[in-house]
Symmetry: C2
Subunit: 334 residues, 2 copies
């Protein structure tokens, strides 16, 4: 910057004013400065600027992993929105580990980032308040209703009710659910939506018809749990899975057991990731707007960082039931 100033015969203050569009600079000096910047290929040193202004223009993304397509799409949305707002996005893999998560949040204290977006917080994450009280934080998809941190998600309860209404409308009565053993609020709400919907229609759920897959919704655990369901009695005519990967696992197992989807068993999923339409039967699923979830999280974070007034604590995005090939009425209505 000093070089530019010398080259243009002005002071560094003038150069600074110009590149920050601050104050007024006469047209001809401006031209000289721009010429010097061009000539010397000058780029401002963010290290110095950020120290001076005490801001990093970096945001932190905490995720249990980046290969799961669900997280990958959210990541994508955050990244794009961040870039548009002039921020750089730092990724931090928590490996689903609270210690790692705290490690990541320490970045905030060290001024490496101006704020953080957290994915996959479980119920009982009040310890997060220690950070969110001091630094801008947003939770994406998962949150604790009892903990007051701004978050964005879909309405998991309503989404599940929609799916259940659809299944019940199809004539299904013996509807099973493959839930998960994690402590996500989405898991809780989906279970509640399932139970309430059955109750509303006077259907008594069979105790064996709710099973719990691995915390990360693995394909394999979907297979295992589907087998459990199909060997239980009475056998369900429909299986509601809280993720597409689980649904895919369930479908393969149904088929391996010599049954057909949807003729013998209906299977529906949740999320709508790519592979739902990569092979038949295309999977009927509840669509989550992952990319938009990411974008809105970033915007919410930005609102906090820029100290906007009345930042919403909660934001719900629209979900949608996509009916495809893996669902149909039950064979015989008993």
């Amino acid at each position: 910057m000093a070089d530019v100033a010398r080259e243009a015969n002005v002071s560094v203050a003038t150069v600074s004013r110009l590149i920050n569009n601050q104050g007024v600079v006469s047209p001809d000096t401006a031209e000289r400065v721009y010429a010097a910047i061009e000539k010397l290929a000058y780029e401002p040193n963010l290290l110095a600027r950020n120290l001076r202004k005490n801001e990093s223009w970096v945001i932190l993304i905490l995720s249990p992993n980046f290969t799961n397509p669900y997280y990958a799409h959210i990541l994508s949305g955050i990244g794009d929105a961040a870039a548009e707002l002039g921020y750089s996005a730092l990724i931090f893999n928590t490996a689903d580990n609270e210690v790692r998560e705290k490690e990541g949040l320490e970045m905030l204290k060290k001024h490496r980032a101006d704020g953080a977006i957290l994915m996959a917080s479980e119920i009982g994450c009040d310890w997060l308040l220690e950070y969110s009280d001091h630094y801008p934080c947003v939770q994406c998809s998962e949150y604790d209703p009892a903990v007051d941190i701004p978050h964005v998600s879909i309405d998991n309860y309503q989404a599940t009710c929609d799916a259940m209404e659809y299944l019940i409308g199809l004539g299904h009565k013996r509807i099973a659910m493959i839930s998960s053993e994690n402590e996500y609020v989405s898991t809780k709400l989906r279970l509640k939506g399932y139970c309430d919907s059955l109750a509303k229609h006077g259907i008594t759920p069979c105790g064996d018809h709710v099973v719990y897959a691995s915390r990360d919704y693995s394909f394999k655990s979907g297979q295992v749990k589907a087998r459990e369901l199909l060997t239980s009695s009475p056998v369900p005519t429909a299986i509601f899975c809280i993720s597409d990967t689980l649904a895919l696992g369930a479908i393969t197992t149904v088929q391996d057991m010599g049954l057909r989807v949807p003729e013998d068993v209906t299977v529906i999923g949740f999320d709508d990731v790519e592979f739902t339409t990569m092979f038949h039967p295309y999977i009927t699923t509840v669509v989550q707007p992952c990319y938009q979830l990411g974008r809105h999280s970033m915007q919410l974070l930005y609102a906090q960082i820029s100290q906007k007034q009345d930042v919403p604590r909660q934001q719900f995005l629209e979900h949608q039931l996509n009916v495809r090939e893996s669902s149909a009425p039950p064979k015989s209505v008993d």
Copy 2:
């Protein structure tokens, strides 16, 4: 830091020396300082430290997207290795766009990052030298053999030859290839491996048997191109696809046309992403060690940043052919 110094009755220099393990500090003053750090929950300000040392401890990852599982796994490897080395990983979505790519690399000039890892560079990327000459850069998976930038990848030529030897060994003679219209070195080398392998066995390739899918290996284009192949004459008995997504598209098309995989047509893929074993037929494919590709890229970048001597310009990782269910001998050997 001044607070800590005051609290411990020492100067800031002593505090600094201590947290950087520099010089010698007497045990008892050290203890006082540590106590003060603990008491005040002091965390060094990276903004200031980095300005002083003129380094950011951030590395930049340029990728055309983060949702493609292939890139997502590399990203994961880079991120983990970076964290182990004390670096933070910045993601930058180039959207397969050269302008965006340059935009990303400008981060280096601005001192936002100490180095960059580039994915998906095409042949003819000499313009990159403008950056790689001044800042540490590594190319992951793709590179230009004519451009001297350190890179890590598999041996695409040998990998393709291995796959072709397997197909030919199975008895296939009419082997088609779904390549891509991009300009990646991997695409070139795989095409060469395909041609050379056929020639080596005295098989004259049919001109119609090499088709070019979309640059991003989309599922849909795999379907379209497979249909072209299966309606050409003579009909191929095997299709070698340069990505698993293409292979999956091809398989669904084969099936939609009333044929069976592998009984009527053999299909093999490349990369080995999750869905190769998510439904039948499990896909025979060439395994790329994506995660390791990412890790090694980061290590190579680190070697450059720390000015190690004799940083290798080229690094090949092991590939492997995974034979599964989508490949078999042709029905009739003609």
